[in-house]
Symmetry: C2
Subunit: 331 residues, 2 copies
């Protein structure tokens, strides 16, 4: 009996790294999670070395469970500041890897199979196209609403990487050149308004401007999370609901601009803030249509990710390498 072909999908996050062996149909046969950083401070290059040791031992232990029936064909990764063209992780701001790490070639050499990497939003877009709500679509985008705002664009059936591999920074288009300071060094970027940290800033602005009571008045800025604001909105807290409306207005405006430029079939929202459901989706759709160029009105679907559960990011990473293997069958 021929063995089942699987790939290793890896999602490297600021805190945890998730791994899974995934078949062509998107079934995650075995999964695991490991800490991304060493428990004690070790310095950048030692940090990468220890990361690789943990990665190898975790992946090897996982593969031992399925090696009788499966063969590993490749490795796909979703990583912060991932450069698809070079296969490198470049100075990720949230990791203590202060260098450019050629992670794809390191893993290719170690395992003897093709490896590819990209950022997490591009991986999410590929995951939606292969296994999620974007099956069959050739032009769409995924917007990830997490700590920041990421985006991955599919154009003519392929990820838009741009000239340098870093296209898709929708989180850093300007809402207001005299607005909020952004971690990227600019002022007024979309993600300073539309993200878990952005909506937290909006809540604090609203608490300052209004006199209305809110459960969030008892929480410090540092303690307040996107989940808390989502829960407050779902419980009917007016400040939280107004914060979602303001967030949605700016998101809707910039999505309408993005439609004018790229004419997608659908926009897929992904990430924690989508748990607010109608508090986010209804106003975002309303404002997007309000600011939409007439020729695009009522044409673009606004969807929530079809990938759910713990292995979502791993599925995206695995979709990247399945895609590469399909493009280059000789590998």
């Amino acid at each position: 009996m021929s063995k089942t072909e699987v790939v290793l999908g890896i999602d490297i996050g600021g805190t945890n790294t998730k791994l899974g062996f995934v078949d062509r149909e998107g079934n995650c046969l075995v999964a695991a999670t490991m800490p991304t950083e060493a428990l004690t401070e070790v310095g950048p290059s030692k940090e990468v070395e220890l990361f690789l040791q943990r990665l190898y031992s975790t992946a090897d232990g996982m593969f031992a469970k399925i090696s009788d029936t499966c063969v590993m064909k490749g490795i796909g990764m979703g990583v912060p500041n991932g450069n698809y063209y070079k296969g490198t992780v470049e100075m990720p701001p949230n990791l203590n890897w202060n260098e450019i790490v050629p992670l794809a070639s390191i893993l290719e050499k170690h395992y003897g199979v093709p490896a590819a990497l990209t950022n997490d939003a591009n991986a999410a877009a590929l995951g939606e196209m292969k296994f999620g709500v974007a099956k069959g679509m050739r032009n769409f985008l995924v917007v990830t609403l997490g700590t920041g705002l990421g985006s991955g664009f599919v154009v003519n059936g392929d990820i838009m990487y741009g000239a340098d591999g870093f296209a898709g920074e929708l989180g850093h288009v300007t809402v207001n050149p005299e607005g909020r300071m952004c971690g990227c060094g600019k002022v007024g970027c979309l993600e300073t308004y539309v993200s878990a940290t952005g909506i937290r800033r909006t809540v604090y602005k609203l608490l300052a401007d209004h006199t209305e009571d809110s459960e969030m008045r008892r929480i410090s800025f540092d303690d307040l999370t996107g989940e808390m604001i989502t829960e407050a909105a779902l419980r009917g807290d007016k400040i939280a609901i107004e914060a979602f409306d303001y967030t949605s207005k700016l998101l809707g405006l910039k999505l309408a601009d993005t439609v004018a430029i790229t004419s997608p079939e659908a926009i897929i929202l992904f990430g924690g803030l989508t748990r607010a459901g109608a508090h986010l989706l209804k106003p975002t759709h309303k404002y997007m249509e309000q600011y939409m160029m007439p020729i695009f009105k009522d044409k673009v679907k606004l969807l929530v990710s079809g990938l759910t559960g713990a292995n979502t990011a791993v599925l995206g990473a695995s979709a990247l390498i399945w895609n590469e293997l399909d493009k280059r069958p000789q590998l």
Copy 2:
């Protein structure tokens, strides 16, 4: 001796339609111009019929001059509201063709060669890639600054047509939701500020706000043209120079946003306003870099079109069909 392969490039403008037979190297062997609309009011479908009669007789007359040495391989067109996917011209606002005209298939049937069409900005982008300053580039955009603002994006080496064939409407991203009324039905679109008509509106705003004298105070709104404002700026008129600075600021801001989304190697400006030279280019570059996300700073070239002369638009249209013929050599 084998005959030289040529294509017919056609650029349909609101007033004139330009035609040229172009070889693979971008040499325009014979060119002509004819009026786009009938001289007397005839109604939409008759209008299209008469347009086709003029087109056939003009093209046939041109081809007669080169038919001894050339063979016609295809037809490419740059047209208003052109849908590349369907080969149709769809209700162009500036033409009296009140219908959806399947122009590509009409010409394919008449001449027995492949025909393709797209809008003029996409044709310009293909022209730059094949014959102009974008040779060898796989990710760039062309911004056409004419009566309106058009744009054509090349992503991964192909035009980004989007889901419906109408991607690239950079002229209709929102600068200010409470700003100027736009012909598209929206408010505050970029082209209401950045285009020949946009800068005219800015001049009138500045003439209202300031007391400074200007040669443009002697010209009515209806008589003022982009060329006059360009000439005034080149002569040192302060209102004209300030109007170019304001235009450049908004263009630079939106170009920086566009870079964040698409990460192009270059942005190529095209059209009448570029004749203002440094009055447009220097401030546009300055503001673009000012609003640029740091990872893209000093990476993106801002260029002026390398296609000059009367046959520019025809070269773009011919590039479209050369591109199609190269993609589908069996045709």
